[in-house]
Symmetry: none
Subunit: 236 residues, 2 copies
DNA sequence: CGAGTCGATGACACCGCGGTGACAGATCGA
DNA sequence: TCGATCTGTCACCGCGGTGTCATCGACTCG
């Protein structure tokens, strides 16, 4: 499934959806889930508040017509304690509603019915705003690759600085840890082409990576070669 | 007049509006101005880009139908160099347009005709998101950057005076302290473009910043370089 | 007009990165 | 068993990114 990741870091964005129309709630939940979001659905205002406190979602969708607490009240309550993006949903098309919604601190206002794709686009736009708060790193086992800092963290040891090529190669290897990555794929991913020239340099690259991240570079435990095929990352 | 202030700093929020319909452009300009925004209007895409670089507005409104550069292209160009809120305006109601707009990095999408009050509400909602960045002074760790005085306070020491370029660069760096900012982003943020020329001057800028704010400029602790990537601000 | 500031540019040193050649060892098939 | 191929290892080198310094032109202000 095409998860919506926070800057390529594994965690999907969590969305809280509140609506008292069970059918619509299920539909929205399904839609967002298909789009790769992690979804939490509730069917009234007070449940929304509780869920918000308990789960601290990255984005909130609120129907305006809810009881006992209506969407606007929930919106204000949330806004009092967080700057999380909030999108209001409504069936009514009164300008007063729109103004009240934005006045309560909402970031967007969508009138039902709406198309699933449009909803997804808007939620993504909101989510983009909070994304930079999350770190751009990917993890695999006790390895943690920081794509911004160009560093690799092994367990609790000091972070290693990686060169651009090393970063690219490790990035690919870490996306499928434990599985062999073809030399071919590595070559294409790092250099964009695959001739005998790059092939020799790949040996070098692997060699240097091992010098950096293996305890005993002559007996690699982490970055192992699969003869005739390629290399794989062994974690844990 | 009820000015829209940037978190008590007195300066109204600057909005750039681009539309090739002169009447509508004037109307929007008038509306936003009445609402307390400082407005800059242009009537085509390339003028919008120039104005964006020259004036660094706090919010941008773009009509999609413009020539020679259409709104989507302008949107992408701006998004490449800034995270400023962008709202797209359009007469068409095609879902493809909406998807393309959000795909280009837009934050909102409004179909004409729209009511002035609704427009104001939406612009305010967008502006809220960037306001904290404009509080007149931003802090990160023991650094405190005064955007109006053009000074930088390090801990309890006397404030340093900064030049306009130094301020711009440091501003960007301080919005994400501890995280590497690409040289590319710095170039686009400071100069609006990114050629080898600006690249060399960026070295100078960094050099001079270090002379000012580092204890030992030859061994930078605060303004560190991430080889092959960019620079980062290390605080605390 | 002269002093001072700021940004741009040229020149140069340094060093890390990536590419290359050479060779040793391993593996496998004829 | 021999040779071909693949892989690992090491020394070496050129390029480019980066830091540093000197200088120059544009601009402002007294």
């Amino acid at each position: 499934m095409n998860r919506v990741d926070a800057a390529e870091s594994g965690r999907p964005l969590k969305v809280l959806v509140a609506d008292d129309d069970a059918d619509l709630l299920a539909l929205i939940g399904f839609t967002l889930n298909q789009a790769g979001f992690e979804v939490r659905t509730v069917n009234d205002g007070s449940a929304a508040l509780r869920a918000f406190v308990a789960e601290s979602p990255d984005c909130v969708l609120l129907d305006i017509n809810m009881s006992p607490l209506d969407g606007l009240q929930v919106c204000r309550e949330i806004r009092d304690r967080s700057r999380v993006p909030i999108m209001m949903l409504t069936v009514r098309d009164q300008e007063e509603d729109l103004l009240a919604a934005f006045d309560s601190g909402a970031d967007d206002y969508v009138r039902k019915p709406f198309s699933p794709r449009a909803l997804i686009a808007r939620v993504r736009a909101l989510a983009r705003r909070v994304e930079p708060l999350r770190t751009g790193s990917i993890a695999a086992g006790n390895l943690n690759l920081d794509l911004e800092q160009h560093t690799l963290q092994l367990g609790a040891a000091a972070p290693l600085r990686l060169t651009p090529l090393e970063l690219k190669a490790l990035h690919l290897l870490m996306t499928s840890p434990g599985r062999t990555v073809t030399a071919e794929r590595l070559l294409l991913h790092v250099w964009g082409r695959s001739t005998s020239r790059e092939r020799r340099t790949l040996k070098q690259l692997i060699y240097r990576l091992r010098q950096k991240l293996e305890v005993d570079p002559s007996a690699p435990l982490v970055l192992q070669t699969t003869p005739g095929a390629g290399y794989k990352l062994v974690v844990e």
